[in-house]
Structures are given as structure tokens and as C-alpha cells.
Amino acid sequence: MNAPLRRAGVVILVLFGLLFANLNWVQAYKADEYRTNDFNRRVVVAQYERPRGVIEAGGKGLAQNQVTEDALKYLRVYPKKEIYAPVLGYRPVSLAATGIEASENDFLSGESDKLFADRVKDMFTGNNTGGGNIVLSLNTKAQETAYKELLNNERNVKKGAAVAIDPRTGAVQAMVSIPSYDPNPLVSHNEKSAAAAYNKLLKDDDQPLLNRATQETLPPGSTMKVIISAAALSSGQYTQQTEIPAGSSYSESGAVIRNAEDEVCPGSQISLKEALTESCNTGFAKLGVKLGRDKVVEMAKAFGFEDDKLTVGNLTGSGLPVAASHTGDIANPDGSVDKGALAQSSIGQRDVRMTAIQGAMIAATVANGGKQMRPYLVEKELSPDRRTIYTASPKVARTPISDTVAGDLKDMMVSVVENGTGKKAKISGYTVGGKTGTAQNAVGADPHGWFIGFAYNDKGEPISAVCVMLENVSGGHASAEAARISGLIMKAVAGGGGD
């Protein structure tokens, strides 16, 4: 019986050899993959071993840490809750991070190469100094005013967005979206309750998690007329005073254009400036058709339409993604120009879609003499001990119009606020210009109200450009409420030190 016993010993040897080989596979070959696997809770715990950097603006901490007693040592806290949520996003334990928390994650967590020296220092001192801090360009007063006014708007609108940009630099002064959400429950260390809070927001029909300022595109209505005016002025064939054909109604290839009210431009001719001031639909529809599809589409593109690569965050890195604004095809099935569509597109209807931040960028470009600055949110990156590692240096993104054209447009838009449809945006002591927009969207639905505009201080410096968008405004004059809120935001920027 000894021979089979010895063979049984060999079988055991082989089985243990298999165990050993498999252990090598798991612990040596696969080790790195398993160590960093998403299911590996140690990865999560390690991320909470050192405090994450603070996100701040205007000296106020907007995303901070609270020391906890549990295995994850720091709890992320957002003291301003809903107000900054669309910008900051949130950084949960196991779900995906969003907003600046996601785009600046490497720096905030301390893993960025920029903080390599700090990590090496930590290794020698034994300290865990934490991640780098982010200073946002937001003007806290403007942001809080924008949120408060949007939320408590006089028309009881539930959904909307507002963006304010410094026209000279592209620094975002305010970015608000309603309805918003409280990010704090989403970052709870109790992952079940965090997931429940997330699912509840996800199921909400009003989409509170959607950043309407950057992600939602809607028909821009008459704000589109700024682009048509820019195309006309840039062509060299038009001045502010050029008389353009108008009328109470205009029929083109089956599309019928009427004015908002009968008293708007009923005559057969109106000056370009007057047409913009009164928001003359027939005039701009005819002007757009006359200029042709290419000029209209190209000018829109020059202002930033069709750009699906734009991010707002760090000028040298990533940021919040911005949905591309579109002019639509404006074409018949055979590819030729659909003049009816062109007429409607020229007043911001049909397939034209725009984000709120694109609206603010148009106004900012006009206010900045035709130079469009690339918008950004991250003003500074500070090391854990608050040395400045990065400061945003403003970049010109495009120059869609000349200084002269910008000057004419500015005059025309100031006229809109002083004499025309945008009177509600006026601020005493400042020169305010802008353009209203009321966009029909679905049959039977209330129109969206838009306002894009800018404000100059008494030294003639453009201090702010804004866009306010309100969805489905009831009670008529949809854009008036947007204009009023725009004025208050710019006033907040001005009052908060202006620069």
C-alpha cells in the first residue's frame, strides 16, 4: 500500500503547488490592479486620510472639512448648500464626483504633480498636510444675490439659470441654477443614505442636479438679434442708422413672423438701432434673410456657437463642461437654404439653442470691445500652506467683431435698456446695456424669458456681463423679470467693490 500512499503525497504536493501558483497570480501579478480596484474600500479610506483642500471665494470657505470619528477621517461640508452646488458639485464616498470637486480633484486631494514637493516634505516631517486649496473667481455677493433673486422671482418660475462674467478677464462672477440641491446629504459617509439622497434627486422631474447655466440649451428668442446686428454691422453695408425693412408681419416660405405687440415697428422702414431697441421681429427676420444663412451661422460661430469643447474651470486644465449652442440646419431636405427657417432663426426661434453662459459671453464680448475672453472659475490654486501655485492669466478666446462694431452694438444695447424693452435692468450710476428675449417653445407652454447685458462704471470700464434665463414664465413680458434680476446681479457686482 505504500506506493499509492506516496502517490497521494504527490497529489497533495501538486494541489499545494496550484495554491502557491495561484497566490502568486493574486498577490504578485494582480496586486497593483487589486490594490487600486474600485471595489477596494482601502482606496476610499486612504483618500480620507488627509484633509481635502478647501474651495473658497471672496475669503469664504465653500467646501470644507469636518473631522469625524469614523474610519473616513474627514467629512466634506458645504456650508452654503444649494447656492454654490452647481459650481462646486460634490465629492461623495462611492458615487462619482461632479463640478469643481471633480475637475480639480487631483489638486484638492493632493495627488497633483504640482504638489509633489509638498508630499515629499510630508514624508520627512511625518505630517499629513492635506490637499491644495482652490480660490474661485466667484463674487460671493453676486452669487448669493443671483440665487436669492432667481429663487424668489416675481413670476414664481421654478427653473432657470444666471451667469455673470467679468468682460475684461472672463472670470465668472456668478453661476446659479434653480432648482438646486443640497450637496451635504450626497457626501454622507453613510453610503446607503447618500445613495438614497442621490436617487431622490435623480428622480425629481425638475432635474435639480442639472447645471442649467452650462448644460441646458434653449431657444434664445430675441437675444439672437445681437448676433444678427453684429453680422449686419460687420458686413460694412449697415450702420446703426441704416433703415431696414420692417412691418407688422412678414411671410417667408410658409413661415409667418409677427411682432410681439402691434405697436412695435408697424412701419415699412426702421433704423437698425430702433429695431433692436424695440425688438422688431419682422425687421430682424428680413435682415437675417437678406444677409443669408452663411453670414448668420458664421457670426454665431464666431461668438462661440457650435463649440462643444469649452470647459469653465481652470484655464490650463479641465472644468465644468459646457454644452454647445447651436443655430440648427436652416436647410431644406435638399440642402438649400430654408428661408422660412432662416427668418425664424434670425429671431432666435426654430432650431436655435443657446446656453445661459453663451448668452453672457455674447454680452461680455460686446462690452469688451469685441474680444471674447475665455470664461474661467478657478482664480488661484494655493498649496496646503497657502503659497500661490497658479493664478489665472486671462486668455482671449476669439475676436468675433471689431472694436468699432462692438462700439456700435454697445450703443444699440444701451438704447435697449434706456429706451426699449430692457428698462428693468437699469442701475443708477452705471451705464447698462442689454437685450431681452422671449422664446416660444412648445404649443401652449409659457415662453422662456431671457436677458443678456452688461454694465459700465463711471470710468467707462465694463464691470460685468450677465445672462439670466427663466423657463416658462407665465403672465406675459417674460423677459422683463430676467432683465430685473440681471440688473440686481450687476448691481451686486458693482457694490461688492466692482472689480
Partner: protein, 480 residues
């Protein structure tokens, strides 16, 4: 003839130093300092093992000197790791460091005492392993009853983590299967020694291998059916593999016919594959096995990972092992609590994060040493019954280590076996220490003078000792 008892004592002292050093490292890593009492668990264990050593000196003086120290090392590290879990749990709850007798580590210490007492009693009562063969049929019956009890009990009284292997009474639970394997080995050995001649009769020769007569297939088919019933009703592939492997190997050793191995392997894997197919199509009692196979095939698939009773345990086990890497984080410096059931089925994975591939490989070598020493006792002992019992027990131990470690490292589908001498729990520890006591008894016969017990087949140069009164002239107790 040398007894090598002093070598055993020396080895025992060495492994207890290792256990004490492990305890000290755990405290340094977890508490941040080595407490003045770090050596106490190791010292208590030393006293216990010393007690067994003394019993062996008097009752089995020629027993293999490596077995006790090797098992003591694993047992001691098990207690040390369980105490490490207690310390970790207490610190994360902001409680003071628990006392030596508190928590699962303390309980394991108590179980070790109980197990060693049982082992000593076995050595004292069973002075000759052949005596056991007198009770072979009783043991066989007891073994089958022990295996079947969890299967017939309602799930609420027998199911833990999807496997029905337990008897749960109040807060107390035992795994009867752990004891059943001892009884079954004894029964198989007796039965096969009686039947070996019939079973080795050849009828047909096929590709160079003699196959048995059809009518002799009865017993192997019976055990095969029983083990498949275990697979389906106790929902546990590992246990089925254990019993069936045990039977086939003792059958092979008894008859020296390789054809039995081939028939056995074909039957078993054919049965398993059939159960897998039935699980996929019919479901019902086979569904659990099919599920486990799915989990094993792709543990990282989200559908498997997030499912209740899915691959969560296996994945966390693999991640724990992977995080440990080659050298591990050091005893006490890992996060074993991320591994579910880390004190029982997954203790090897929990330790693997902290002692790394090198530490686990060393543990594997110690297990291998125990198994090969057991087989050696079988080789050395003269009587057939002793050979089959020693070989069967040692092989079962090795197979059990393979089944559980293979399961938690993803080599084979995961099953609910305990890791011998390491896992928290009294049933497993007691049964395996009884197994070791039986191996000590047989190795004593194998290594001792020829007329003391079973005798040695090696021409020993030493002087022959006078036969003791209990080890009479009984050289062949097996009745035809």
C-alpha cells in the same frame, strides 16, 4: 531508538517565540506601542502545548516530533490574528484594548485548551490505533448521521452564508461535518481493508489500466451519490469534494488500482458539471451551485458583485490579498475587517494582507509539512488499517486546506470550509486536533520499536524495547 521528544520541545519553544513576536508586531502596528503583556497569550499557549507534549512523552514517546510544533505554530498565529481583530475592533469603537481572554481571540484560546484536552484524552484512551477498528461500523453510522443532520434540519437551524453545514442551537453552533470526517475515515479504512482483495479484482483491461468488475462498483457509487446529495442539499461543493476525495483516495490506497482514481474523478467532475447544467436550466436545489459557479467565473462583474449572496466576499478576499502583495502591510497594519467572515472562512485572506505572499507561502509550507508527516506515518506503520487511517486523515486535511484556500483565492468555486487550526471556532479546532492526535498515535507505532504497537518497516539500529502490556501481540485484528 531515539524518541526525539527533546527535539519536539525545542521546536515548540521556537514556534512559541514566533507567536510572541507576531503578537508584539500586532501591538506595535495597531496600538502604537508594545504593551508589557504582549507575551501573555504566547506564554499561555506554550503552557497548553507543553501539557500535550508531556502527555505525548508518556503515551506516545516515539511519535513524530514535527507534528505538534507545526500545528502549534498555525494554532498560535490563528489566536494571534483573532486577538488582532479584537484589538482593531475595540480601537475603532474607541474602547480600551481588550483583555487576553476577551473577544474571539480569548474564546479561541479557550477552544485551544479544550481541543488539547480532547487530543490528550484520545492519546491516553486509545493506546493502540487498531482498537478503533473494533468500532468501525458504529463510527461509520455516526459519521453518516453527522453529515446528514444539517441537510435534514430546517435552514434556520443549519444555514450559514448559503451553506447548510451547521447545527445552530441558541448562540452555540457546531459543524458536525468536521467530526464526521474522522469517523468516516476510520470506517472506510476498516471496510476497505476487508474488501480490498475483491475490489482489486480486475475484469477488463483498457488502455493499460485494469478496471474493476461492474458488480464491485456498488460502494463507490453509493458514496458518490451521497456526496452529490450533500452537494445539492447542503449546498456545498467543498464538503462533497472532501468526502468523495477521501473515499476515492482510501480506495485507491487500499486496492493500488489507479482505475478507481479515474472512475472517481470522472464520476465527481461529471456529477458537478451535471449539477451546473441542471442549475442553469432547472434551477431548484441546483440553482445555488450554479450561482456559485457563475460568481467564480467572473467575480468582478457588477451583476455578480452587487447581487445578494454574489461575489462580494470573494472580491473583497482577492482585493485584500492583492493589497498585501509580496511582503504584506505587516501584522496589525492592514484592514482585515473589509473582508467578510474574516475570522472564519476568510481568515487566510485577512492574514494575507498583513503577511503578504511570503508569509502565506510559509504557512502553506507548514500545512504541507503536517500533511506529508501524516502520510509518512502511514508509510511507516505496518498494519493496513493504520496505513489507511493515517493516509486518509492526512490526505483529508490537505484536501480541506486546498478546498478552502483555493476557494478564497479564486482557484476553485468558493465553499464554506474552515481553515484547519486557523479559523475561529471550536468544532473545527477540536476535530482537527483529534485528527492530529490520531496521527501522533499512528506515527508512534510507525517510528517506535517493532513490537510496540504497529511496528516499523525500517530496520532500526536501536535496541528493541520490551512490549508494553497494552500493545500486545495483536498484529492483525481485521476479521475476514
Amino acid at each position: 531508538m531515539k524518541t526525539h521528544r527533546n527535539a519536539e520541545l525545542g521546536l515548540l519553544a521556537f514556534v512559541m517565540v514566533l507567536v510572541a513576536a507576531y503578537g508584539a508586531t500586532v501591538e506595535a502596528n495597531r496600538i502604537g506601542e508594545i504593551t508589557p503583556t504582549f507575551w501573555v497569550p504566547a506564554a499561555l499557549l506554550s503552557v497548553l502545548f507543553l501539557g500535550l507534549h508531556v502527555v505525548v512523552r508518556f503515551t506516545a514517546p516515539y511519535a513524530d516530533p514535527v507534528l505538534i510544533p507545526a500545528v502549534a505554530l498555525i494554532n498560535g498565529l490563528g489566536v494571534g490574528f483573532l486577538r488582532r481583530l479584537d484589538i482593531g475592533d475595540a480601537l475603532s469603537e474607541k474602547l480600551p484594548v481588550p483583555g487576553i481572554f476577551a473577544g474571539i481571540g480569548g474564546r479561541q484560546l479557550a477552544w485551544t485548551l479544550g481541543s488539547l484536552v480532547l487530543a490528550a484524552v484520545l492519546l491516553l484512551v486509545v493506546r493502540d490505533h487498531k482498537v478503533v477498528s473494533r468500532y468501525a461500523y458504529t463510527l461509520g453510522l455516526v459519521g453518516i448521521v453527522l453529515v446528514m443532520i444539517p441537510a435534514v434540519l430546517p435552514s434556520s437551524l443549519s444555514e450559514v452564508n448559503g451553506a447548510k453545514l451547521w447545527i445552530k442551537l441558541g448562540g452555540f453552533s457546531i459543524q458536525p461535518g468536521e467530526f464526521a470526517k474522522l469517523a468516516l475515515v476510520s470506517f472506510f479504512a476498516y471496510y476497505l481493508v476487508r474488501k480490498r482483495e475483491v475490489l482489486s479484482l480486475a475484469s477488463k483491461r483498457f488502455v493499460g489500466i485494469d478496471f474493476p468488475r461492474g458488480r464491485d462498483l456498488g460502494p463507490v457509487v453509493t458514496v458518490w451519490l451521497l456526496s452529490l446529495l450533500v452537494l445539492v442539499f447542503e449546498k456545498d461543493l467543498g464538503t462533497a469534494l472532501l468526502y468523495f476525495g477521501l473515499f476515492v483516495v482510501t480506495l485507491y490506497v487500499a486496492t493500488e488500482r489507479a482505475s478507481w482514481l479515474i472512475i472517481g474523478l470522472l464520476l465527481f467532475f461529471g456529477g458537478v458539471y451535471l449539477a451546473y447544467l441542471l442549475g442553469a436550466s432547472v434551477g431548484g436545489p441546483f440553482a445555488n451551485f450554479y450561482d456559485r459557479a457563475q460568481v467564480w467565473l467572473d467575480p468582478f462583474a457588477l451583476s455578480n458583485y452587487e447581487r445578494n449572496g454574489g461575489s462580494y466576499q470573494l472580491v473583497q478576499s482577492l482585493l485584500s490579498l492583492g493589497t498585501g502583495g509580496l511582503f504584506g502591510s505587516g501584522p496589525g497594519a492592514g484592514s482585515p475587517r473589509f473582508v467578510p467572515e474574516v475570522q472564519t472562512d476568510f481568515i487566510f485572506a485577512g492574514m494575507g494582507e498583513e503577511i503578504g505572499l511570503f508569509g502565506l507561502a510559509a504557512l502553506l509550507v507548514v500545512y504541507l509539512l503536517i500533511v506529508e508527516r501524516g502520510l509518512r506515518a502511514g508509510l511507516g506503520v505496518r498494519d493496513s488499517f493504520g496505513k489507511l487511517v493515517a493516509g486518509g486523515l492526512a490526505f483529508t486535511l490537505g484536501l480541506q486546506v486546498f478546498v478552502i484556500l483555493g476557494g478564497i483565492t479564486g482557484l476553485i468555486p468558493l465553499t464554506g470550509q474552515t481553515t484547519p487550526f486557523l479559523s475561529a471556532g471550536g468544532s473545527s479546532l477540536m476535530a482537527n486536533w483529534l485528527l492530529i492526535a490520531m496521527l501522533l498515535r499512528i506515527s508512534n507505532a510507525a517510528r517506535g520499536p517493532a513490537n510496540s504497537g504497529g511496528g516499523s518497516d525500517r530496520p532500526g539500529p536501536g535496541p528493541k524495547k520490551a512490549p508494553t502490556q497494552l500493545h500486545g501481540a495483536m498484529t492483525e485484528v481485521i476479521q475476514p
